[in-house]
């Protein structure tokens, strides 16, 4: 570095009363002005306000500043803001350093204002010490592959894929089962419309058909993800379908001798080993379930199109994409054996099973089994659970959509059986927003709502036909016994069955509730901790169809940003190898991003070793720097010298 005179400007933020209510801002400014190389120190009510940013810009010129320190909030919040301001002032944006005196001083030491002020001074001194050693850095730009992978063929994934394709990007949609549509297409109806979920899904699959630049891969699962935002490579494995695209004439299904439970109908109907889950399923040709197929060959003989290959094997496919949308959904909570009579009688149904039963095109043609006298819904099964011991794993969360689904179905049953009693035993009715109209309709139609307390749940005593349900009513403070012909458990949702694998492959985290964690629960609900990997639909949290659809489009928007720009900037804070590296390779194993490789080279006729860093893979975490015994690798913007200067400054008094 040339021996230019260091001229540091320090800015201390009041953050309204957030900082100034505790920390003596004037004292910090005065102290900052006394530090070596600080030529300008001032304060502002809100440093992030546009005028304060313009102030930095002007001061850089006026005071010939070549380093800037802002003492304010966490750099996670406003480092980009102030880097931009520094850049607007004509300096390299990395000649900027931030001291967090809000979270680290004012907020955590609110009851000790004097010591908080002293700590703020310490942090400013450390920041100035680092600022003196900062070097200009220039982010590398890397090209983005203008295509996306969407994982999951439910409504959120379908919407995302269709949107990205219509926006002009190449899209690969993978779905682990052999048919698209997810859980939504198993429902009988939707609120406020005669449209069925299957008709809605067909609109989306039609949209896929219309798009030239979309490829649909059913039966595929992702095995591994490598690379980084803009340049991912994904290895996929396909479980064979054993049937090529055909005219779906149905002869193979007709001749297949094997019958088994149709899981699409929760075992309420049977299907063949070669099957369609339902007539209009997409893609519209059969698949073979090899776990039950006897390989008798009847289907092969019956097929006039030679579409069936019983010996088909797993296939592998590698894709290169710029961004990924994960929409792997959630699964229905399955009650424990005996929980509210579950598994003891075919008159005790869960909400998803009821959807199949009420589907007029479904296994029972829309009819409940037996005489419909009293149908009793029980709310919050598998949701809003309380721990009885520390070790117990419970679903504390509310599953969001079960109240509306129950009320919707209660209305259907009441409409079809006006003389039957329909009861909803609930803890709170959560028909939020517009769904309140459904609740109102149910009340008007005579559905009886009975509230119970969470710790006094109803009892279900299964009888030969139906059950006796005992509920402690909050309103009358009396116990009622309802002779139920049918009991419906309003079961909630849990993270999808393959959530663990998806999390591992795509390097995502779980929230406390087990669902996939977003980058910020309010403002970044679609982004994740892996840059370029976005989440949509119920894998993030239970959602109704409208909300899943919205998040599908929204995740597409997030993916569309890097894809449309065609390049992304890499943070320059990456590991760099120094002249001291002798290729001892200690850093290679600990590297979290697998970014370091050992290389050999010749110097003065001698074979030497060193390491190389793939900057796109490097996360700048510094593990290599900490491991290296000889200063052979250093992380830019967090160099050993810079950190040493901060530590020295911290220990000064």
């Amino acid at each position: 570095m040339t021996e230019e005179e260091l001229r540091v400007g320090v800015y201390v933020c009041h953050c309204g009363t957030n900082i100034a209510g505790v920390v003596d801002v004037d004292a910090v400014v005065e102290y900052a002005a006394s530090l070596p190389n600080v030529v300008h120190a001032t304060k502002n009510m809100y440093m992030c306000s546009l005028p304060a940013q313009s102030g930095i810009k002007e001061d850089i010129k006026k005071h010939s500043l070549n380093r800037v320190v802002v003492a304010s909030c966490t750099p996670k919040m406003h480092e980009p803001t102030f880097r931009a301001a520094v850049q607007a002032g004509g300096l390299n944006p990395f000649l900027y350093e931030q001291a967090n005196i809000r979270e680290h001083c004012a907020w955590v030491h609110a009851d000790q204002p004097e010591r908080a002020t002293e700590k703020a001074k310490d942090l400013v001194r450390m920041a100035v010490a680092k600022a003196r050693l900062l070097s200009p850095l220039n982010p590398k730009k890397i090209a983005v592959i203008r295509s996306a992978l969407v994982v999951g063929g439910g409504p959120a994934g379908l919407r995302s894929a269709a949107d990205l394709a219509s926006r002009g990007f190449e899209v690969s949609l993978i779905e682990k089962s052999h048919f698209l549509g997810g859980n939504a297409v198993r429902s009988a109806s939707l609120p406020f419309t005669d449209q069925t979920p299957r008709e809605a899904a067909a609109v989306l699959t039609d949209a896929l058909e219309d798009e030239k630049n979309i490829s649909v891969h059913t039966g595929y699962e992702a095995e591994s993800l490598n690379g980084y935002l803009g340049n991912f490579t994904i290895s996929l494995v396909k479980k064979p379908r054993f049937v090529k695209e055909c005219s779906n004439c149905g002869r193979c299904i007709a001749v297949c001798p094997v019958e088994t439970d149709n899981e699409f109908d929760y075992g309420l109907s049977m299907r063949k080993a070669i099957y369609m889950p339902y007539d209009s399923a997409y893609p519209n040709y059969p698949a073979i379930d090899m776990s039950v197929c006897k390989k008798c060959g009847e289907c092969v003989n019956a097929c006039a199109e030679s579409a069936i290959d019983l010996e088909a094997e797993d296939e592998k496919l590698d894709l290169s994409v710029g961004a990924v949308v994960i929409a792997t959904g959630a699964k229905n909570y399955t009650p424990k054996d005996g929980e509210f009579g579950w598994g003891k009688s075919d008159r005790v149904l869960s909400l998803p099973v009821l959807e199949r039963v009420l589907d007029k095109t479904g296994p029972t043609k829309g009819r409940l089994k037996g005489k419909v006298e009293n149908v009793v819904f029980i709310g919050c099964v598998g949701s809003r659970q309380k721990k009885t011991s520390e070790e117990e794993k419970v679903n504390e969360y509310c599953s969001r959509i079960c109240c509306t689904e129950s009320v919707k179905n209660a209305i259907h049953i009441k409409d079809r059986h006006p003389d039957a009693g329909v009861f909803y035993l609930f803890r709170d009715i959560r028909t939020y927003g517009r769904d309140e109209y459904l609740y109102r309709e149910a009340l008007e139609k005579g559905v009886v709502f009975i509230q119970f307390e969470g710790d006094v749940p109803p009892e279900v005593n299964v009888l030969k036909k139906g059950a006796k349900v005992v509920v402690s009513d909050v309103l009358s403070r009396e116990s009622f016994e309802i002779p139920a012909s049918h009991v419906v458990l309003a079961t909630g949702f849990e993270p999808g069955a393959d959530a663990d694998k998806v999390l591992e492959v795509f390097k995502l985290n779980r929230s406390a509730d087990g669902f996939f964690q977003e980058a910020h629960i309010k403002l970044r609900p679609l982004e994740t901790s892996t840059e370029g990997v976005f989440i949509a639909g119920a894998c993030q949290a239970p959602k109704n169809l409208v909300e899943s659809i919205a998040s599908g489009s929204a995740a597409a928007a997030k993916a569309a940003v890097p894809l449309s720009m065609g390049e992304v900037e890499l943070d320059p804070a990456k590991a760099m190898v120094t002249e001291f590296c002798d290729g001892c390779a200690i850093c290679i194993d600990p590297c979290l991003g697998k970014a370091i490789t050992l290389v050999e080279y010749e110097k003065d006729g001698e074979l030497k070793k060193t390491v190389e860093v793939n900057e796109a893979l490097c996360k700048g975490c510094g593990v290599c720097m900490a491991t290296c015994p000889k200063k052979g690798i250093d992380v830019r913007h967090f160099t050993l010298d810079q950190l040493q200067a901060m530590v020295d400054a911290a220990l000064e008094t």
Binding site: G16, N18, G21, M45, Y46, C48, S49, L50, S54, C73, M77, H78, P80, T81, D163, R167, T193, Q195, P197, V203, E396, Y397, C398, R400, D428, I429, R430, Y432, G433, R434, D435, E436, Y437, R440, E453, L475, R477, S511, A512, D513, I521, K522, L523, R524, L526, Q540, A541, E547, I549, A550, S553, A554, A555, A556, A557, K558, A560, V561, S564, M565
Partner: protein, 432 residues
């Protein structure tokens, strides 16, 4: 030829998110906001559920990004007057109301606001009337753009022609211009996102609660301003009648929501807002007794039930199931709430120092006769053409809806829908 430009109407969190997601894709955006600053209702909040991080802290980066984005042109203090044309080629007339301040010259120094003779005399909208401002004002310190506005309804010079005009004197850059005229601009855009948000329903529609009559009956947004460190009381909750710190506070849920006489729909976020406000009151002073009167607690979003449980178990907030039927004011301005306790049984009467009404929300429609009429649901919020396949596209080609304009929503759902609307709008704009 499709105009590769979009119009976003409304600068709340949904409108900002939609603007940013379009602009980040390289699409030019005009963001029209009728208030002097973008930020919407979220900018008024103290903290946000379920994580209780401060609203100003998380919204300022969005405000700054939106205000400083090279592809976003802000038209604040402006209103859409007329829309003609069709998808891909709309012509939109926008009225830029006279701010009486030249925003190119104004530095946001706030000197004019300090010397205005009406300083601290006019009820301040940003503080929901809990604080006062002058005729020359900046709505809040992190406002974007950070520019002064002179309120023509109150400014003495503009209303009566007589004033000492200290603002003009105080303004260094000479930005104040009492002669400024409104300006009409015409924008050519390919698609339009309507994110006009919500307003609180008028709590006077429930006269039994005495809002506007009893000093110490306030709304859920008003208490946000009292809780906020940047609010009119510096974050001290003081009851309006005497400035005393309330020791007993009652929250009334579903005021003008789930109600046959006002609005049938549920306003969706108010249960969690009340729970959050109750926790914040307890954090300010653990000895405050807080009771939430509710019909059902609707803690349905991610992390919401968990926060509800914390409110009960960790913070000791009382929850009473039942609607309050009426409120009476005592001589000392404290209040007596009378209502049913459905769980405990019987009528309960309690004397409290402050009542907070969790007032439901109503849509803020575009002005009538504007040239487009977006179909609405029976609740009068805008409806998507077929929400089960596309949550944001309306019946009018090229027009999309996001945020509370479509239905009441919390922040995550508004942000998501803002992004979704941007996606659908961008597809139209990028079509050849």
């Amino acid at each position: 030829m499709t105009q590769k430009k979009a119009l976003v109407i409304g600068g709340g969190i949904a409108g900002m998110q939609a603007s940013l997601d379009l602009a980040d894709q390289g699409i030019k955006v005009y963001l029209v906001e009728r208030n002097p600053s973008i930020g919407g209702n979220m900018a008024k909040l103290d903290k946000t559920f379920p994580t209780l991080d401060c609203a100003a802290c998380i919204i300022t980066p969005k405000l700054v990004d939106t205000g400083g984005h090279k592809n976003i042109e802000l038209l604040t203090y402006s209103e859409v007057q007329n829309i003609t044309g069709e998808a891909g080629a709309f012509k939109v007339k926008v009225l830029k109301k006279a701010r009486f301040v030249d925003i190119d010259k104004c530095t946001g120094c706030a000197a004019c606001t300090q010397v205005c003779v009406l300083k601290n005399k006019i009820l301040d909208e940003h503080n929901e009337g809990m604080g006062k401002r002058g005729a020359a004002y900046i709505p809040f310190p992190q406002a974007v753009p950070l520019k002064a506005t002179i309120d023509p309804e109150h400014c003495l010079f503009l209303t009566k022609g007589k004033c000492t005009m200290k603002c003009v004197e105080a303004c260094g850059p000479g930005a104040i211009d009492h002669e400024q005229k409104p300006e009409e601009v015409t924008l050519a855009v390919g698609s339009i996102i309507v994110a006009t948000g919500f307003k609180l329903e008028d709590p006077a529609k429930k006269p039994e609660y005495g809002y506007g009559v009893y000093d110490n009956v306030i709304t859920s947004l008003q208490i946000e301003r009292l809780l906020s460190p940047s609010g009119p009381t510096g974050g001290e909750v003081k009851r309006p009648s005497d400035g005393e710190h309330p020791k007993k506070v009652a929250f009334l849920q579903c005021v003008c929501s789930r109600d046959l006489n006002t609005n049938i729909y549920c306003s969706r976020y108010c249960c969690m807002q009340a729970i959050k406000e109750a926790i914040l009151l307890k954090e300010h002073n653990p000895d405050v007794e807080v009771t939430i009167f509710y019909i059902d607690i609707r803690a349905f979003g991610k992390g919401y039930e968990e926060l509800y449980n914390r409110a009960k178990d960790e913070f000791g907030v009382n929850f009473v199931k039942g609607r309050i039927a009426e409120i009476h004011e005592k001589d000392d301005k404290s209040l007596v709430t009378i209502g049913e306790d459905i769980v405990g049984g019987g009528v309960v009467e309690s004397k409290v120092d402050l009542v907070v009404l969790s007032v439901g929300v109503a849509p803020v429609p575009l002005p009538e006769g504007i040239g487009i009429e977006i179909p609405v649901w029976r609740d009068n919020f805008y409806r998507a053409k077929n929400q089960y396949v596309d949550a944001v596209t309306t019946d009018i080609p090229g027009v999309f809806v996001a945020g509370c304009a479509e239905s009441p929503k919390d922040i995550p759902d508004s942000v998501t829908q803002g992004s979704a609307a941007a996606m659908r709008a961008s597809i139209l704009l990028e079509e050849k």
